[in-house]
Point group: C4
Chain length 219, copies 4
């Protein structure tokens, strides 16, 4: 009986967070296009050339769209790892969403300045910072969940550890991309694109401790 109540509370807590997060994901991902302005073309210039010159904007649009899309796709099963939600868990989720909702801005900066010789390293470094933020927020949610015992106890400890390593590594890669960008912007961008492509692979299946037949039925 106790457990059932807890489960109910948990569901209400994480389901509201999920619904709100899905809303923020959908809005942030759809707002990305707003940052691309229609080019102003004089009558003796070519609109085709002007549209072609927007390729950094289109590149930044696609990259950020895919990244927010991956966060959306993974957030659902991420939330399934937690059996309870408390006040600070909710606040950390708000922080994470703040980082996701911030992403359209560095995306616009990257699109605007990627081909501006002197500024491209700053633009890429700022974009890498924009990618670091949600990865860091995600990591914080996970570490707080472990520290506060919000995580499903039935998860295989090896799977827990795998996730810790994965989240730490992703955050570290984006963090390292910031200084790299200042020296070699295209290397930094290639690393960010590469990590994103890795995340397009199917995620590893959740693994539980040796399950009893009873567990299987419950799940």
């Amino acid at each position: 009986m106790r457990l059932r109540r807890e489960n109910h509370e948990h569901d209400e807590g994480t389901q509201r967070i999920e619904a709100f997060s899905d809303g923020v994901f959908a809005i942030a991902i759809t707002l990305l296009i707003i940052e691309i302005a229609v080019p102003a073309v004089e009558s003796d210039e070519s609109l085709g050339d002007a549209l072609f010159d927007l390729w950094p904007e289109f590149f930044a649009y696609v990259l950020s769209f895919v990244i927010i899309g991956i966060y959306w796709a993974n957030h659902h099963s991420f939330m399934r790892l937690f059996v309870r939600a408390d006040h600070y868990f909710l606040l950390l989720n708000v922080f994470f969403l703040m980082c996701i909702a911030f992403l359209p801005f560095p995306t616009a900066v990257l699109g605007e300045y990627l081909t501006h010789g002197e500024q491209e390293s700053t633009a890429v470094a700022f974009y890498a910072f924009g990618l670091f933020l949600p990865a860091f927020g995600w990591l914080l949610i996970w570490l707080y969940g472990q520290w506060d015992n919000l995580i499903d106890e039935n998860l295989d400890p090896a799977y827990d550890q795998f996730l810790t390593v994965q989240y730490l590594a992703s955050t570290a890669v984006f963090l390292v991309c910031i200084p790299i960008a200042l020296v070699q912007p295209y290397v930094s961008l290639a690393v960010a694109v590469g990590l994103t492509l890795l995340y397009l692979l199917p995620p590893r299946q959740r693994r539980y401790r040796t399950p009893t037949p009873d567990d299987t039925l419950e799940r």
Copy 2:
């Protein structure tokens, strides 16, 4: 028992995709108006004339609104054709949504440059490309679903084939509209409008293999 689990997984998979897609549809369709800027009118000019001169913007607004509306209306029953969802199915849906969310930009380009003599062919060609993208994404989802056996086996094979032909044809028409626009922009636009009007007709009813009474109950 096996089937039930699969059905449950499917529901969770496609229902989350549907909810997220509905969000992106609603946001993209409502953002269209943001791209129309309030005209700047001097005190000796007529606001009425300035508003009237926005007719290409209003035309582009209505056309894109109706097109996204049709995608929304059909997406629900489209998703009902699939009995399972996997990781790459989800990624293809993210790609499709990226194309839908992109549409406000070519719409704004069309609205801005439709009446600019030299640029109108480029503007229409770019808009046709903007219409081609979601049609192509939709087709990819369907072809991947067939290849990976995600589609409801109870569908009448003739109905399957009808859909394949319809999706291929729509994608091809929008693709062909791109080069046509460069020569005859208004012909290209007329074809796009015509195809959209066709999609306003009621869609063909889903058809299943000869159903047993048992099937009817299940559905």
Copy 3:
């Protein structure tokens, strides 16, 4: 058994429309603020004065917010009047939503030009047109529903008639506001505000034919 299926189809049809409409209402209502630009103030000018000069923008914001809010509040019980939804019913709803999503544009025009002597009559006339459009879309949904027998047969015919008169009258008032605005813009605006205030009163309760005890249980 037949009825149950129909009811189920109806629910799915109108519930999807309602969810999508709620999304468009929420987005359109929240986008209104985006149309108000931060004033550019020189260092020797007063930001306070500049903000005060935005009163037409704030007025237009509040009026359009309240109007969309009223549509949202009433749409739910409006949909409850229909027992079935078909393809053209859905299309008319898309048309209605197109009119709602359009409203931020005339709102921005009104806010920008309400205090520009020569343009204020055009601005108010265009805004009245913007209010006429969703009222007209709503009326079309209702008339189509009557014509195609989509409306709950248990409704009291007198209540049906009351609604027809109300929807016709509202649409007519906004239509008449357009020419009035060209002569007396502030009279036109006052009528629009007055009608909106009337809609803030509690709506008349739905009335059904003399219900049998059986009906009561069903509802």
Copy 4:
């Protein structure tokens, strides 16, 4: 039987309000970033400096994001305090949402003018007004709910009183911040930030009258 119907009506009423509010919260919170424009940097200037100079925009973004996030987090349990919803309750909620949706505008004004010597006091006063509005709307909902007996009778009267004091105090603090800003803008801002930090603490648990075992089961 009577009670059950009322409960059902209540649920429908407040659940629709909650879903719509969650939508407006999610959109308003995600739109905040749109107000930050990509800085225009000449080729001999530093993009890094330009981004650094946006710190008032980033500060205003974070503060408003956290404030809307807190409103979202508390709105759900706030709605749980009411057992019925009527027409004016719904209208007051629309007013509250209008204040939330307005917040991106004072946020943009604060971000733009916080570091403009002569204008900073006006900018902070306007922002404090922007914070006062939703606090006032929230208070109105609560007071109307008390006056019209919409509030759950099982709540401990001491808890009721605690909430009244809390809502009145918050509204008063933001109101007082407006004149303070005109004299000491940074003091006013510090008070607003401080109150926001207080709201990051876990909210006090709802308290009911001494519950009977029966009550516990029902809840």
